[in-house]
Amino acid sequence: MRSSLDAGGAAPYPRAARPRPWRGSPEGERRRSRLLLARAQQTGATGTAKLNNEVNTIYVSADSASSIPAVQQELTKLLPTAAITDQNDLASQVTGSVGSAASLANNLGKWLSVAVLVAAFGLAILLTMSAVARRVREFGTLKALGWRGGRIVGQVVGESLVIGVVGGAAGVALGYGGAALIDKLATRLSAIVGSSPPTTASGVAARLAQQVGSSATHTVYVTLTAPVTLNAIGLAVVLALAGGLLAGAFGGWRAARLRPAAALRKVEWWSHCVAWTWNSATANGSRSAARPGRASPRCCNCSAGSTAPPGARSSSTART
């Protein structure tokens, strides 16, 4: 490599006052590319404006990619204070920024899916709880018939598992559709990376290039993909099953704790009316009172147990 650069950081060159007839010509372009750094820095457009701190980047091109490390080493020796980077750094910076965008998308997706998962689990548990709370009477009947708590829990868990399996299958199908949609509509992130020019500059080891990479740039595309892997599907199904199991266990545990008497006392709002009309019909011997259309306006304005005869309450004699 030409060592004309080693004068770059040396003592100030005497101010150039001599005429430069070659300025502005193609010959001048060629000659200007061989300027010493100190002279380049002292060359101003006018007499007073200096380029003292203006020239701070020098492009150096090597004649082959394999010699870049050697050139870099020599440059470090010649210009110990300069920061020397090469195309690989630039390329890796660009790729790195694209990559960090990709990893950001990945991380965002991961945490988003975790949040959605937690919300879904919570929702499943809440819904199962409310469903079980509405079926307390049913479970009370089962307990009165002699069902053990574990059996009731198993029943609820089984129902939740079936719902989980169906939901998981629907979710996998929906996920397939969504992934296909993303693949179809995917926006491509593009980045323009300057590549090293073709290595035909034989003989010139180091030259002042105007703009490295202006001759040959190539574009890097990062495509947004939604890969569907067997692992992801398996995870989805397992999570759906786990959600069903968890929700069912919670709901079943609450349902199985109740004693049948307590559960059966939680009558639905109309059931004491049924018992009341039945009782009054059998007591009076008239069929008219048993008709719900007649009986309900008289009965159901009452609060449970105030107007209805005491015997009309649902079975509360079973104590354990």
Binding site: T141, A144, G146, L264, G311, S315, A318
Partner: protein, 83 residues
């Protein structure tokens, strides 16, 4: 008493008479009967056989009851106590 023992007593020794029907609306009539047989440890096939027998008995009872009713009402209409 443990929950297990209580459940056993409820299944084998106590009969509940519900004032409301307390049927499961999503189950068939036979399945509703099965809910009471399940805690007794009766197998599925045996349960269905028992329920079939019970249903036949109930049908026979209904037929007999209707016949008795018809006979009685005819007797009432005719006004002669001949039974």
């Amino acid at each position: 008493m443990s929950e297990r023992v209580v459940a056993r007593v409820r299944a084998r020794s106590i009969g509940f008479v519900f004032q409301a029907f307390n049927l499961m609306p999503m189950l068939s009539a036979a399945e509703n009967v099965e809910t009471a047989l399940a805690p007794l440890g009766v197998g599925g096939a045996e349960r269905r056989r028992l329920i079939l027998i019970a249903a036949l008995i109930v049908i026979v009872a209904i037929v007999v009851g209707v016949l008795i009713y018809l006979r009685r009402s005819r007797r009432d209409r005719d006004g002669r106590g001949e039974s």
